[in-house]
Amino acid sequence: MKGTILSFEQVTFTYAPEDKSVKPAVSDLSFSIGEGEWVALVGHNGSGKSTIAKLMNGLLFPQQGTVKAMGLTMSEESLWDIRSQMGMVFQNPDNQFVGATVQDDVAFALENNGVPHEEMVVRVRESLQQVKMADYLDHEPHHLSGGQKQRVAIAGALALRPRLLILDEATSMLDPQGRREVIETIRELREATGLTVLSITHDLEEAALADRVLVMSAGHKQMEGTPDEVFSSGEELTEMGLDLPFAMRMAGLLKQAGVPMTGESMTEHELVEELWTYYSSK
């Protein structure tokens, strides 16, 4: 593996350190993200996902363990250095749009980091092109769709040329079209630049695109592996309040209905192939 971008080492965090009856929101969590990877962190609402996001950007500090990012240990001192190297997109498209227009919003982080004006103009254009929003420079946020706003937020993060992009439930408030736009944008970005991405989500269709999936439940890491590995545990995921991708759900139902299935088909297409093979075999 190439260099490590982000790592959690035995991290425990609780919102009420004095009260022993309150379970920690995150307990004894260790994982790392290597340069160029796309990792998905999944879990139902209340599984500790959002706490993990806050530990990553230094809004919270763990009671035990360490969070390291870009080779630095997260602390009050290193905080701003780390933040300048990571971009983050949050859940609610409206509540993270700071600028009055698209271009102002994209420039916001650049202004904060004292980037000179000429450089800003170039970077704003560039990042908006990367998310295909370059034609919307002067649009105001309330004239954009949810998906467009999230793409602008991604551009805002990209403008700083971060080493890590974190999507914190960035698609959960969007309509299907918006969700597709955002996921497509991330895919293209990864293809073009190899950017390291961490997506925190409860959408397993989104997680299926990642290189590696971490499943959280009740503050613990329950599973880790490639999407195929994780999804093959079927029932367990459903018990954790997560949904299987469509093809796998169908495979399960078909099995129940008496069709012998291998459980290896990950997409609709593969599933139909498998059914056809079964049908044409004797």
């Binding site: 139902h44 469509f246 759900r249 609709e268 139909v272 079964y278 049908y279 004797k282």
Partner: protein
Amino acid sequence: MDILLKQVGYSYAKDTPFEKRALTDVTLHIPSGSYTAIIGHTGSGKSTVLQHLNALLQPTEGSVLIGERKIEAGTKAKNLREVRKKVGIVFQFPEQQLFDETVLKDIMFGPLNFGVPEEEARRRAIALVEQLGLPEDVLEKSPFDLSGGQMRRVAIAGVLAMEPDVLVLDEPTAGLDPRGRREIMDLFYRLHQEKGLTTVLVTHSMEDAARYADTVAIMHSGKCVATGDVREVFANEEQLGDYRLEPPRTVRMQREFEEKTGLTLDELALTEEALAQSIAQALKEGRELK
């Protein structure tokens, strides 16, 4: 209760430089006891139609018939309480409307406004909290101390407590995790059947529309471009394509299966369970024939 939109047109901010047309010549009949899904993209006019169903908006052209009550363009309708009592709306992200000190009071807000006696309102609230799978002790809690999913359920209870004849649902499960989504949609379906409600579901999810609705209406750029039986609408892939909509995944898979194997399933499967059953059936028969 029947609702009939007759050649309804609606413009926001009419007669100003900011005028924006939202609906043009929409005719839509929602028969009593039906489960109608309204599908279409964001900005197609779905939400505007929805707000005509209980006269939150009044048409700028045409008329809306809600039960016995007629609301016509150009006249100012007064005293709409009766209409709103009969047509309950669960808006998108309904937890935003919570305001009272306790969950109990918040759920009772609607019924009390419509003149339901306090005892009865309380009884309904208690029953609903149970029905929605909330712990009993939430009743005396502040709604703002609950988790997001619980707040959503309380808000839904607040609408159900009015015991409306028509239940209008605007993306009621947006933002919930898969389990919560399924639970809530199933609950609405149960109510629809048990109480003989008329249900209108505004949704982006073709899968939900296929699973629950019996009638589907397609909205596109402010017009109601198609209505029909759920199978009829979802079988017409060409028409869906014209409005940039995709058939439900089950339908897509059924088509792919039929094409690949040359087998034909009896009818369009609307749920994953039904599709699995009919595929299994078709394979069995097909293999026996060989």
